[in-house]
């Protein structure tokens, strides 16, 4: 088998959208490769669900262009109806048809095939999500996780050119969510189906996606690999969205800034610039031995969270700055313990204020 150059499956150009006078999407540009999984993340109301509905054809496009496989499916005044786009979708409430059996639900999108073939294909798809023996059951007889699997099977059965998932795990409890996102990702990989996942959970996005697009107020403010969003955020918003941070303030002097935790370099920012320094909790390394660049902190409280612990700290100086550190294991430092802290620069981000 020869290795093909990956082709562009979905292309969105200059897409903007208004509800009344409110702009919900602003000049969105996205390209999605065949087989790629993209996560759209952002706080609620950032426009991610609207973008998904526009791609699906469930909302009327106002400005911009959407191409699927190189063919224009939506441009102003020229839109292909949702039912003619061959785009599958998994909904937040699963939207299983309550009056149809699981088999009929999955077969619903195979309308063009002869009945016998429809049945075998639907059954095969149900088998892939492990629910073949329940084919005759009604949706309400299933648990939430099973319903989610059927919804996925139904959306994938017609072999869509693109799969959209709108917060597909948000109705499930945490444990189930973790298992299902793994299963779902596996299925999408197996079927090599280009997919867009909408979620407000950054961890879910980082787990599932090849790339993540972070939306805020209708704009994509950063797009890239999960690692690049976590370790190279380009804004305070992105930094805070993907994890908790300790925030320190300072002013630049000769491309460096002095803080209660030591001196940090910010070569790209100008002299005298006020900055905020964001430090991820796991970047704070605690030890009992002092080193050249360490500072003394006092333990306030230890919260054991299983595999790791959160430690509330106070810097031992006049300002008495509060900090949170994250360390592996379950250390048992009583409050008042004096420790040494140093920062790992990989988790430190400096932005102009």
């Amino acid at each position: 088998m020869s290795v093909q150059a990956p082709s562009i499956q979905l292309q969105i150009r200059e897409l903007s959208h208004h509800y009344g006078s409110k702009q919900v999407l602003d000049a969105i540009q996205i390209e999605l490769m065949a087989g790629e999984i993209l996560a759209l993340v952002g706080p609620s109301g950032c426009g991610k669900s609207t973008l998904l509905r526009l791609i699906a054809g469930l909302e009327e496009l106002q400005t911009g262009e959407i191409r699927l496989d190189g063919e224009v499916v939506a441009a102003p005044y020229r839109q292909r109806a949702a039912e003619q786009r061959q785009i599958g979708m998994v909904f937040q409430d699963f939207a299983l048809f309550p009056h149809l059996s699981l088999l009929d639900n999955v077969a619903f999108g195979l309308g063009k095939l002869p009945a016998a073939q429809r049945r075998t294909q639907a059954l095969a798809m149900l088998a892939r999500v492990g629910l073949a023996e329940r084919a005759a059951d009604a949706p309400h007889m299933l648990s939430g996780g099973q319903q989610q699997r059927v919804a996925l099977a139904r959306a994938l059965a017609p072999q869509p050119r693109l799969l959209l998932l709108d917060e597909p795990f948000s109705n499930l409890d945490v444990r189930l969510r973790h298992r299902l996102r793994q299963e779902t990702q596996q299925l999408l990989r197996d079927m090599r189906c280009a997919s867009i996942l909408v979620t407000h959970d950054p961890e879910e996005a980082m787990y599932m996606a090849d790339r993540i697009a972070l939306l805020r107020d209708g704009r994509i403010i950063q797009i890239g690999s999960p690692a690049s969003l976590y370790f190279a955020p380009q804004s305070p918003f992105a930094t805070e969205f993907f994890g908790d941070v300790n925030i320190l303030h300072g002013e630049l002097r000769q491309h460096t800034v002095d803080t209660a935790l030591g001196r940090f370099a910010a070569p790209s920012l100008g002299e005298g610039q006020a900055v905020q320094i964001m430090i991820r909790p796991e970047a704070l390394q605690l030890s009992s031995q002092a080193s050249a660049d360490s500072r003394t902190v006092i333990v306030q409280a230890c919260h054991h969270l299983g595999a790791y612990s959160r430690i509330d700290l106070r810097v031992d100086d006049a300002a008495a700055l509060s900090l949170q550190a994250e360390v592996p294991g379950a250390p048992a430092w009583p409050p008042g313990t004096r420790l040494q802290v140093r920062c790992e620069t990989r988790g430190v981000f400096i932005f102009a204020v």
């Binding site: 699906a56 054809g57 469930l58 599958g88 999108g109």
Partner: protein, 574 residues
């Protein structure tokens, strides 16, 4: 936020270039349906427009006559009737609803649905029954006399039922369920949390009822009362039998006895103003409804047990309206029917009348179901402000009293027939006579205009319970709108569709005022037959027809109570 307000928020403002385009685009259905639904609205609005035309054309000399002889009496009687019926249905409806929702006593379960039974009795039938029941030598007064120890009507006589107060009492007895039903729903479901909170704050029963429950139920009371008052305004039979000269009666006699269409149209317009006033009062009274609904979580109210004489008192109070409003008139009809069948057998004309009634009701029901489904579906597919208005307009017909509607239809129907005949003449054929005005088509048209709103309401409620994600799912799975309607909406809306059909069927079966004015020559339905018998004073012979109407009217009540029971058992299962 409710789904409706969400949809509202998503609907773009109707002005502005981009917005204007959306205003008129029925995205996934094309213009075809839009034209069709506009035509439907026209069909509802045509009678109103024609009414206006006739009233304006009316010669000036009519007004002095109307003003000095007809209107003062009619206005006064209508106003008194509405006031009396309004007070009675609010008092009866809300007190009964409170009693069965906040308290538990022997027989409560059975009574709480039996209190709906009077709905099965149309106003003209209760009046018809009581004319005989209340007669000085009738069963009611004779037994009262025996009970009290009098022996002749000269010694003891109840006031004549043929009076304003009699009319108020009888209408109130059959119309209070319009208030009882929605208010009970508020008390037993939405108000639960709050009433329990009030109890923990040491509020007594009186304070809870007047200070909390009643204000909470105000929107429901407003809806129910306005429906009841529209029925009261629409009533023709009861007022006429009991000698109350309301606006409806005046319209009817102005047209039928004096053949004075402009005069009738003028009174009809006046009546329409009253209807509009009623609607606006209702809207005003429930302006905060969305707010109250949105903030409550459903919590059924825990009932307090009434024992001893308190329980007996509650039982008696609840039985009274059922006895007076259903058991006595229905029992009377059964008795008369039995006598009639025993002594003179079944009238041959009755069968054809029954057939006429069933045919009309069936045709109306099927058409109303079809139209309502299409309208609601279209509204769901393209939630534009225009469609919202269309649905609202198409529902306007319910508020138009039957006589007003009939007067408004007479003109357009005759006009249409004239056109058709002219067309036939021009093409060299013999004129075909009265195609619409002289046929049952006119009746079905009138029924549809009046009852489409009921079907619409039921289907809209049915549709609103289906999450829109079902539509989106079907569409992303390649379904055309037609397949979506057929495979998803129709099966899932079946309960709503069936209940809509049941309600329209029963309402068409018992419709009297419009039927009287629009029916073809020598065409009788059960209702007009009954009216004719009562007008001639031969009450007994109308009993069979009346009983048939009441029996049909029982169907939706039985369905309703079965539905409620099923919901109860669903709710109590773990």
């Amino acid at each position: 936020m409710t789904t409706e307000s969400l949809a509202l928020a998503r609907t773009p403002h109707p002005w502005g270039v981009l917005r204007l385009r959306q205003y008129f685009s029925a995205r996934h259905l094309g213009v075809g349906w839009q034209v069709a639904s506009l035509a439907l609205v026209l069909a509802v609005l045509v009678p109103l427009q024609s009414l206006l035309g006739h009233a304006m054309r009316g010669s000036g000399e009519l007004w002095p006559h109307l003003l000095s002889y007809v209107l003062p009496q009619a206005l006064q009687d209508s106003a008194l009737l509405l006031l009396g019926v309004g007070v009675l249905v609010i008092a009866l409806g809300s007190s009964l609803a409170w009693l069965v929702s906040a308290y538990d006593f022997v027989g409560r379960r059975e009574l709480s649905w039996a209190l709906l039974l009077p709905l099965a009795i149309p106003s003209y039938i209760i009046a018809f029954a009581y004319l005989d029941l209340w007669h000085p030598v009738g069963i009611l007064q004779s037994s009262l006399r025996t009970l009290l120890g009098f022996d002749s009507p000269r010694d003891f006589k109840l006031p004549d039922i043929r009076s304003m107060w009699g009319c108020i009492l009888l209408l109130g007895l059959v119309l209070y369920p319009y208030v009882y039903l929605p208010v009970r729903a508020v008390f037993s479901m939405q108000a639960g949390n709050l009433i329990e909170a009030a109890r923990t704050l040491q509020a007594g029963p009186q304070r809870i009822f007047f200070g909390l429950a009643l204000p909470l139920a105000r929107p429901a009371i407003a809806v129910g009362t306005s429906l009841a008052l529209m029925e009261a305004l629409n009533d023709l039979g009861a007022s006429e039998f009991l000698g109350v000269r309301t606006l409806t009666v005046s319209i009817y006699s102005t047209w039928l006895n004096r053949s004075n269409l402009p005069g009738a149209a003028q009174i009809a317009l006046l009546m329409l103003c009253i209807v509009l006033a009623l609607i606006s009062i209702e809207r005003w009274a429930r302006r905060h409804q969305r707010y109250t609904l949105a903030t409550r979580r459903m919590q059924p109210l825990a009932r307090r047990r009434l024992t001893g004489w308190r329980g007996v008192l509650a039982l008696t109070y609840c039985s009274l309206p059922i006895t007076l409003g259903f058991v006595m008139p229905a029992g009377y009809l059964v008795g008369e029917t039995y006598k009639r069948l025993r002594f003179s057998g079944l009238e041959s004309s009755l069968l054809s009348e029954l057939l006429n009634t069933l045919q009309l009701a069936t045709a109306t029901t099927l058409l109303a179901a079809l139209l309502a489904f299409l309208l609601s579906f279209a509204q769901r597919m393209a939630r534009t402000p225009l469609n919202r208005q269309i649905l609202r307009c198409a529902s306007l017909g319910y508020a138009i009293p039957g006589t007003v509607l009939a007067i408004g239809l007479l003109g357009p129907l005759a006009q249409f027939d004239a056109w058709i005949n002219r067309l036939f003449e021009l093409s060299g054929h013999a004129p075909i006579g009265l195609l619409l005005s002289g046929s049952s088509v006119a009746l079905i048209y009138a029924y549809l205009v009046r009852f489409l709103a009921i079907a619409n309401g039921s289907l809209e409620a049915g549709f609103s319970q289906l999450p829109t994600s079902l539509d989106d799912a079907a569409r992303t799975l390649g379904s055309s709108p037609t397949r979506l309607a057929w495979r998803i909406h129709l099966p899932l809306c079946r309960p709503a569709l069936l209940s809509a059909m049941l309600l329209v069927f029963v309402d068409s079966m018992k419709e009297l005022p419009a039927t009287l004015l629009l029916r073809p020559m020598n065409f009788e339905t059960l209702a007009t037959h009954l009216y004719g018998e009562a007008a001639r004073g031969t009450y007994e012979s109308g009993a069979i027809a009346a009983l048939l109407i009441v029996l049909a009217g029982l169907l939706p009540i039985i369905a309703l109570s079965r539905l409620a029971e099923r919901r109860d058992s669903h709710g109590s299962s773990p």
